[in-house]
């Protein structure tokens, strides 16, 4: 019940996230897009738990935990980038170019 629409919403959210990561340059927006992708995946897990049992719900908690940790690290990096560049435009963060 409602499996189809739920997965469709998940796919749409994920695609928006991917598009945002590719297109946007602002580190914060990019970061939010990553969160969006994570939550899209969470949605898919919850929806599929109806069919495959409790494992889907459990995984969601793991993803949220990892996302929290990642948010901490990611924000710290963004802070450091800002201190260094006085901006969070990722176009300027290209020290590792070939």
């Amino acid at each position: 019940m409602l499996l189809g629409p739920a997965l469709a919403l998940s796919a749409i959210l994920f695609s928006i996230g991917v598009a945002g990561v590719i297109i946007r340059r602002n580190a914060i927006v990019l970061f939010m897009c990553i969160e969006l992708m994570l939550n899209a995946v969470n949605l898919a897990f919850v929806a599929l738990a109806q069919l495959y049992g409790v494992a889907g719900w459990v995984i969601v908690f793991f993803v949220m935990t990892v996302a929290a940790a990642e948010a901490a690290v990611g924000l710290a990096i963004i802070l450091a980038v800002f201190r260094h560049n006085q901006s969070i435009d990722l176009q300027n963060v290209n020290l590792l170019h070939g």
Binding site: V18, V21, I22, I23, R25, L30, L90, Q91, V93, N94, L95, L96, H97, G98
Partner: protein, 672 residues
């Protein structure tokens, strides 16, 4: 080192032939130990001359004692087949089984006696001759090493073992020719000897491969046993021709003789030991040793004989017009080696070996005598500070009174090499000429070779008489100041000269003509070795009147040569080297050795250098290998790297796209 020694001793003691023959490895091990000790002393204690002298000559005396013991044992047992003394397995790979093994038979015993005997005397002589040299220990180390390799060569029971000795003596020859290596000329002479010998070694190697391919063994005894059944005439001819190339290189025959005269750059005792008595005779030894193969290939035998006769005559003519006393003897050695090749080529293996032995005596004697002269002059020049060439005979003359012992024994050597009865050279040279003549009965071309040999005998007498006259007789051309400084050599030098003089005088008794006293003892002694070859290619020596006429002709050639040489040189007005006018006419051609070195330089050395520099270096190496492969490879890697590095532009967005494309592709590959 001690582990190796223990292994050698263990291997040697386990199940060897009983008695002295089983201990024959000592003859090689002792000089080798001498090399190790003297080599260590040369590095650690170069001034310990007494120890070096004792060790250096002591090992040779000990090796000679072993040789005598082996000789007595072989004489008692008279083995019909070689006794093989195996030390340890060496190369075992598939069907190839080569052991480090020595073979003791009549031929190797003879060579063992000659090498250790003459070698011992020359070591003793070196104590006096090299006494003042700063490289004394190094000299004896090399000389000991040479003897070890030479004995390995003559005792080796298989071609590969023999080849180690063959290469080893070549190495020692190189080291000793360029012993005084600070002089560019000496270093060049050493290199020349080494390189020319490589040409011959190539032939030896090819012959070995062919033998392995056709006969399936590299053991001398097995090869000689199977060869008559396994080899057709054509195969045998190819094998022996390549083998002969090796022998020609080592024994300095046309066209590879050019290194030997230059090899006189080494110390004189080295010239006597390596470049007259032993190493250069290795080629003759090898032909005699593989006589069966040569008997199977009459064409190769003819080539050997022809090369020998041609070399004998050719080198003798050059010897007529050389002024360096050692150069005369060097060309004389080349010429006498030609005789030996004529002998073994004609199928008279015993006669060739006989001449090898007598030549070892009288040529070592002549070289050591020349060494005494050079030594005396060198010291005189050193005392007065003059910078004349102590080897140039134009600077000598009238030395008989100053060096009486040397003079007398040089005369004995001269008469022996000229072939005057009853000295040793008479018997051996006569036998070779008789064999060549006898071979003419079925192959008339040998009559021509005989005539060339006879002419060479005449020329030999001429240049030797010239040498004696220019050095010892007439008015002296030694400078006023030096005259009083000339002294006879010390006893350690005259002793070996006297011993070799006695051997040169009586050496002919080894192999008298049949019917006189004990007759051809050496021929009988070598018969077990030469029998197989002689059965394949019998040789009937001339008898009766023919033999007498041949002897008369040989003696006449010798006597006539001595007279001509004596009279021509006595009448000649000789000026000291620095005043002498340049040679003209044919004398100049002879003096410049027929310009053979110049011809080789133009025909071989220059083209090779050109090919190496222009084609191999500039084109192949620099342009193709460096240019195309090395720099081209770098360029390619650089370009591809540039291409790849475009992707790494540091923009996270690009990475994400790539990641996405990759992830989708993987998904597609897994799901689709």
């Amino acid at each position: 080192m001690s582990l190796l020694a223990a292994r050698v001793a263990e291997a040697a003691l386990a199940a060897r032939p009983a008695g002295a023959v089983g201990l024959v490895w000592l003859a090689v091990a002792l000089p080798l130990a001498g090399f190790v000790v003297n080599g260590a002393l040369a590095i650690l204690r170069p001034r310990a001359k007494t120890v070096v002298s004792v060790v250096g000559t002591g090992v040779l005396v000990a090796a000679f004692a072993v040789a005598v013991a082996v000789f007595l044992e072989v004489r008692r047992a008279a083995p019909e087949h070689p006794v093989i003394v195996t030390l340890w397995p060496w190369l075992h790979a598939g069907d190839l089984k080569v052991d480090l093994a020595f073979q003791v038979d009549q031929l190797s015993t003879l060579m063992l006696l000659v090498v250790t005997g003459v070698g011992g005397l020359i070591h003793l002589y070196s104590v006096g001759y090299m006494g003042a040299d700063p490289g004394y220990a190094r000299y004896f180390a090399y000389l000991n090493l040479f003897v070890a390799f030479m004995l390995l060569l003559v005792l080796g029971a298989s071609f590969p073992v023999l080849f180690i000795g063959w290469e080893g003596v070549g190495l020692c020859s190189y080291l000793l020719i360029s012993f005084w290596f600070t002089d560019q000329q000496n270093a060049d002479a050493g290199k020349k000897a080494f390189l020319v010998n490589r040409v011959g070694d190539f032939g030896f190697l090819i012959a070995m491969f062919l033998l392995w391919h056709t006969v399936g063994s590299l053991d001398l005894a097995t090869v000689l046993d199977r060869a008559p059944a396994a080899l057709g005439t054509e195969t045998a001819t190819w094998i022996t021709l390549f083998l002969l190339l090796g022998c020609i290189g080592k024994s300095a025959q046309i066209p590879l003789y050019i290194w030997l005269p230059d090899a006189m750059a080494g110390p004189t005792p080295v010239s006597a030991l390596i470049h007259a008595a032993t190493m250069v005779t290795a080629g003759v030894y090898l032909v005699a040793r593989t006589g069966v193969l040569f008997a199977l290939a009459p064409a190769s035998s003819l080539v050997a004989a022809a090369v020998g006769a041609l070399t004998a005559l050719f080198a003798a003519t050059i010897g007529l017009r050389q002024y360096d006393i050692k150069k005369v003897l060097a060309y004389s050695t080349v010429s006498q080696l030609g005789y030996m090749f004529l002998g073994v080529g004609a199928g008279a293996y015993a006669a060739g070996m006989f001449h090898l032995v007598t030549h070892a005596f009288f040529k070592a004697l002549l070289f050591l005598g020349a060494g005494s002269v050079i030594h005396a002059l060198q010291h005189a020049y050193h005392a007065t500070g003059a910078s004349e060439d102590p080897q140039d005979m134009r600077n000598m003359g009238g030395l008989a009174g100053r060096l009486p012992v040397t003079y007398r024994f040089m005369v004995i050597g001269t008469l022996a090499i000229a072939g005057l009865p009853p000295l040793s050279g008479f018997f051996s040279k006569d036998e070779i000429l008789a064999a060549a003549f006898a071979r003419g009965a079925d192959q008339p071309v040998y009559y021509l070779l005989y005539a060339m040999g006879l002419a060479a005998a005449f020329l030999t007498a001429v240049y030797m008489a010239r040498l004696v006259v220019m050095t010892f007789l007439g008015t002296t051309r030694v400078g006023e100041a030096e005259r009083s400084k000339l002294h006879e050599a010390p006893a350690s030098m005259t002793g070996p000269v006297v011993a070799l003089g006695v051997l040169s005088a009586v050496g002919g008794l080894l192999n008298l003509p049949a019917g006189i006293a004990w007759g051809p003892a050496l021929e009988r002694w070598l018969h077990p070795v030469t029998r197989a070859a002689l059965e394949l290619r019998p040789l009937a020596p001339p008898g009766g009147t023919t033999a007498a006429l041949l002897v008369a002709a040989a003696v006449a050639a010798g006597v006539l040569g001595l007279v001509v040489g004596y009279r021509a040189t006595s009448r000649e007005r000789i000026l000291p080297a620095r005043l002498a006018p340049p040679e003209t006419g044919f004398a100049r051609v002879l003096y410049r050795k027929y310009f053979v070195d110049e011809i080789y330089q133009a025909l071989i050395v220059r083209p090779v250098v050109w090919l190496s520099e222009r084609v191999l270096w500039r084109t192949v190496d620099q342009a193709i290998v460096d240019g195309v492969f090395v720099h081209g490879g770098v360029w390619l890697a650089h370009r591809v790297g540039r291409l790849g590095s475009r992707l790494q532009n540091g923009q996270v967005g690009v990475y994400v796209i790539l990641f996405l494309v990759g992830a989708l592709w993987v998904l597609y590959a897994v799901a689709g």
